[in-house]
Subunit: 215 residues, 2 copies
Amino acid sequence: MTQLLRVQNFCVSSDGIAAGEDQSLEHPFGRAVDPGKLFAWAGATASWPNRTDPGGSRGLDDYFTRDFSCNIGAEIMGRNKFGPQRGPWRDHEWRGWWGDEPPFHTPVFVMTHHERPSFTLSDTTFHFVGGDPAEVLARAREAAGGKDVRLGGGVTTIRRFLEAGLVDTMHVAVAPVKLGSGLRLWGSPEELLDRYHLDVVPSSSGVIHHLFWRK
Amino acid sequence: MTQLLRVQNFCVSSDGIAAGEDQSLEHPFGRAVDPGKLFAWAGATASWPNRTDPGGSRGLDDYFTRDFSCNIGAEIMGRNKFGPQRGPWRDHEWRGWWGDEPPFHTPVFVMTHHERPSFTLSDTTFHFVGGDPAEVLARAREAAGGKDVRLGGGVTTIRRFLEAGLVDTMHVAVAPVKLGSGLRLWGSPEELLDRYHLDVVPSSSGVIHHLFWRK
């Protein structure tokens, strides 16, 4: 079986923006971006990993949220997905945004130049790793035990892996909201068509799912 | 977690026909129905369980074929999906259409009034069970170890479970081919709208995915 690097459920605005530039503890996606608007489609599904109550839709959008953990053995994320800090770690108190039960349930490789010991929350272990995308992917593949690796974002990290030619499949949900400024995944999805096939799938929820896979 | 009964990747013609009436060893779907026409969309995907070569598409259709085994702990099938025999078993030589490596990888409950000992091929064990749909579902749920149960078909079996109100979600791929006569799932998908939500999702492959979930 091929061991893929997969981007899943990555949400951008209609103008391609995934996050604001002014990330903080209070505004994980930056002050200009309300993540509720980008993620509303996912939160409405039965399989949304953060769902705590029963219910939720089980139509098209639910296929994407329940695919989140299917055959995934590790995640790679950028440091800015892990937390709002910059530069050397002052201490090790920050353990991510996700509380005591992070939704990953696998090893997670946080890309950073600043060393920090690994730690475990529930069944998720966070490792802090330097190196370029290819090196980090090699480590994540080894940890994934034959399963696929999820590239969790943020947007800067995804762009680095796309530029390095390492992404095998990518699901981007384009929300019907325009943001104007912020950290941009693309000017247009067509920028990737030289290297990827693309299925464009409108959902009844209003988002347009974009499914890329390598040519 | 809710333990669902799910119909997945069930293929019908544009006029709702899933199989011919004259099933035989040579024509598992009946003489009038070429399964290649109904299943072509699935066979083209990377995750088609019967795929033996690399390649295949990883767009929308692939989400459905790779969802086939995600969080499934047991399958229920009608006897006519298992084989072309009718009436009491003459012997136990027939072990299904799928060779030594059936694509199920879980316990499979074959509904039949005619007793037969269980047997195992690779990691799939076939059990032969009487009883009505609710009784068979109870046994399959217990065997599924907390995971969902797949309702594998054929069309007569799916209709029985729908009539008993036991199906939680159902994915039907409607192929762009008209068959005229045979075993019919429905006159129109609208027949289910009193009990189910429906997402209708056209694919670039030409099939139209119909996703039902309980109201």
